[in-house]
């Protein structure tokens, strides 16, 4: 049981750090490309893992840990909300549609591979 938390924790360390590096380098005022990239890659990656029936330990480490922490929902919502609040409604709607369509599409692709 404690090993499950250690596996997820190790994965979470890696995922969060990767997201920080990508976000600080790629997020722009025009669009948070960094957040979009980590959420898209993470969705593809988690699809591959869930679709390939790995052992529980590896699934916890890679899916719940790495992919779970690499992607983020709270920052995504904050970014959408701020675009809307600033009156940039086109960005808010476009970013939302793009993130969800690409994310679910890539998760499906990874899952089916």
């Amino acid at each position: 049981m404690i090993w499950h938390f250690i596996a997820v924790g190790c994965g979470g360390f890696i995922g969060a750090l990767l997201r920080y590096e990508v976000s600080t380098k790629l997020n722009r005022d025009r669009l948070p490309y960094g957040t979009l990239l980590v959420n898209s890659i993470g969705s593809f990656f988690i699809g591959c893992i869930i679709g390939s029936n790995l052992s529980l330990g590896w699934t916890l480490f890679l899916a719940t840990g790495v992919a779970g922490a690499l992607t983020t929902y709270s920052t995504l919502m904050k970014e959408i909300w701020m675009y809307w609040a600033e009156g940039r409604k086109f960005q808010a709607i476009g970013y939302t549609l793009f993130t969800f369509t690409v994310g679910i599409g890539l998760a499906y692709l990874g899952f089916s591979l």
Binding site: H4, F5, V8, G9, C10, G11, G12, F13, I14, G15, A16, L17, R19, Y20, S23, N39, G42, S43, F45, I46, G47, I50, L60, A63, T64, G65, A67, G68, A69, L70, T71, T72, Y73, S74, T75, L76, M77, K78, I80, W81, A85, T96, T99, F100, G103, I104, L106, A107, Y108, F111
Partner: protein
Amino acid sequence: MRKRLYIGVAGAFGASTRLLVGQLLIVSGSFPVATFLVNMVGTFVLCYIVERARLGGSLSPLMVTVITTGFLGAFTTFSAVSVETVELLSDGFFGLAGTYVASSLAGGLAMATLGFSLARRCSS
């Protein structure tokens, strides 16, 4: 360098806490309640902290980054929403998949609104 270490450790705790919520919530049914719940709570807290910090709260910039990018970023997850939606679709639960995405989106934006407005009320 130290900043990266803090963010990584906070991320480890965030992801583990998400696992804990999943294990404590024993819910029957196909709706991914655990992911939904962590995403709602995480979005609310993140928006509250970001807005409090912007309005001159007492947290240092490093602390804000560690909590928001590290802990809350890893606590909440988008990839699980994607893959759970795909699983619901592949099991034939089309209505539930749509409900899941719609409620995650509407709920997340409502939580963001709540977090931002509460922070403003507390700061004034």
